[in-house]
């Protein structure tokens, strides 16, 4: 395996300042963002995502209001970077082309348009707008475990047709195993245009972040999402420093300095965490049941308020096949479950 991937160049894309906003309840300060982004820049990370955890326009009662606006974060971070570029995430239905234009005006390099893995046709206007603005434009197929490789290809072809230059297989629930990742990425690689790049976004809920990312590279992915210090929704994203160490051992070229990023993780990211982002019974449940990773904190808060164990709430959300963005259904589900009377400690409001 070492030989096969040796010499392959992979672009790492840091998530700590976007997906990492979830465990911070979107409260990372502008100063913290600038400091961490500068550390990543110096360590050679080529691309850094900066927005509300739920992307441009995510500031809401539903997902939480961030410490600053997307525009304030982007305008603060982008000018301080020497080599790294900045990306923004946009979920059609939450963010709009107006948000995209604002982010382009702030100087982002990449826009990632994210849809549920079967609903790619809501991304047309945003992908078209991204290309028109001259941005590196990515289609980001979330909860990819819920679609077969064939279905995922059909959706990827739509995004490619709209003009996306890179397509992501996104394991939002941290549910996939390396074989699941490999068959999806390989199928896309086989049928999409050779010039269309492929990417993989993992969550570490089953501890598979690094292994899944390597499986994705073997199958043809050349962009890998990681988060410095593993900061992301659920049990976090693929930990950047661990991924870099593994790549170094395998001869995969990332251009990222292992010791520098491990210092950023240890000295800058870990100190700002409100709690350790790790696999516990709840984040494990996300990966086990295939539930959107950013539901985690909402389920914990619902447990505190309604007395229904977070794990039970998450399992129920999985049974109901909730998709990314349905955070509103967590409180609703908890209330309905509390009313069932099966949870004796319930304090229904």
């Amino acid at each position: 395996m070492t030989n096969k991937l040796s010499g392959i160049a992979v672009k790492t894309h840091d998530m700590s300042l976007r997906d990492g906003m979830h465990p911070k309840r979107h409260q990372i300060s502008i100063e913290q963002m600038k400091t961490i982004a500068a550390g990543l820049d110096q360590a050679g990370v080529p691309l850094i995502e900066v927005t509300h955890g739920d992307g441009l326009g995510g500031a809401s009662v539903n997902y939480g209001f961030a410490a600053a606006s997307d525009e304030e974060y982007l305008r603060a971070v982008i000018p301080t970077l020497k080599q790294a570029k900045v990306s923004a995430l946009l979920l059609p239905g939450i963010g709009t082309v107006e948000h995209l234009k604002m982010a382009a005006d702030c100087g982002i390099h990449t826009i990632r348009v994210a849809t549920h893995c079967t609903e790619a046709d809501v991304s047309e206007q945003h992908i078209v707008a991204g290309r028109k603005l001259g941005l590196d434009t990515v289609g980001f197929l979330m909860m990819a475990h819920m679609a077969s490789p064939e279905k995922l290809l059909e959706q990827a072809l739509l995004m490619e047709g709209y003009g996306a230059q890179c397509i992501y297989v996104t394991d939002s629930a941290g549910y996939m195993l390396p074989g699941d990742v490999a068959e999806r990425v390989a199928h896309l690689r086989q049928h999409l245009k050779p010039e269309t790049e492929l990417g993989f976004h993992g969550h570490h809920n089953l501890s598979m972040g690094v292994s899944n990312s390597i499986a994705a590279i073997e199958a043809g992915a050349r962009r890998i999402d990681c988060a410095c210090g593993g900061m992301g929704a659920g049990a976090g994203n693929t930990p950047l420093e661990v991924f870099i160490a593994v790549c170094n051992r395998m001869g995969i070229e990332t251009g990222v300095d292992l010791f520098k990023v491990s210092d950023v993780a240890e000295d800058l990211v870990t100190p700002i965490l409100d709690f350790p982002v790790r696999i516990d019974r709840n984040s494990l449940t996300l990966g086990y049941a295939g539930v959107y990773s950013s539901f985690l904190l909402f389920a914990k808060r619902a447990q505190a308020k309604y007395g229904v164990p977070a794990r039970e709430i998450l399992l129920e959300l999985g049974r109901q096949k909730m998709v990314g963005g349905q955070e509103d259904m967590i409180e609703d589900t908890a209330i309905t479950m509390a009313r069932s009377g099966r949870y004796s400690t319930a304090q229904v409001a």
Partner: protein, 300 residues
Amino acid sequence: MKKIRCAIIGPGNIGTDLLYKLRRSSVLDPVWMVGVDPTSEGLARARELGLKTTDQGVDGMLAHVKDDGVQIAFDATSAYVHKANSDKLNALGVMMIDLTPAAIGPYCVPPINLKAHAGRREMNVNMVTCGGQATIPMVYAVSRVQKVKYAEIIATVSSKSVGPGTRKNIDEFTRTTSGAVAKVGGADEGKAIIIINPAEPPLIMRDTVHCLTVEPPRVREIEDSVKAMLAEVQQYVPGYRLVNGPVFDGNRVTTFLQVEGLGDFLPKYAGNLDIMTAAATRTAEMFAEEILGGRLTLAA
């Protein structure tokens, strides 16, 4: 009893569901179905039900408007052609109910402002969006009790109930709904989020309405107001249900709703489409009652 004659423009899913509802109305009589495709199933279905049809668009009906006594038209086509349709029919004195996102006329959410529109003799009213029809009544239920500085709605609809037009321009939904949440709902600021869920069997439309009040919420009054509003909407959408809430959390007031359709032509889970056709029917009935009662004469 005399009925007001109507035309439906757009023989697709929405237009056909609307036709079923209009046929039940005691004051409305659907007489024309207008399309652009001679092979359209919707036109064939309308013909079988005894309607006159044309595949030449609105132009194919214009010559017959006077003779057939058409007074109200529903546009279930697209925003791009709505203005032209509306201008041509308004010129003949036909009042237009707009189910497209064009919104050249004022927003109409029946329990909130329908009476006012009828009173002002509007010749074109817009039915906002499905998410708007489902949620704005609940924003208003809070804002009529006390000042709401911010209202946010999350509409979750089944994948099967969202057509290609909406998908191609999903920003239009977000923009129009946010605007109407503030303007009609009575909040200083509005935000709208739409989520499309592909689960099978398809989920019934869900809507969550968050209001942030300026002063601490007056719990009892809001509960009563929400209950009253629920009953109002249920008059034309019987499957409009409050699943949970209102939940009070600090200055946040949240209602969790479900909208099940009548299953006329569209399946029951597509409450999002049903609430549009039901609200449009309700709107037309109010105008029809005004015309029949001699209180409203449409001017050509």
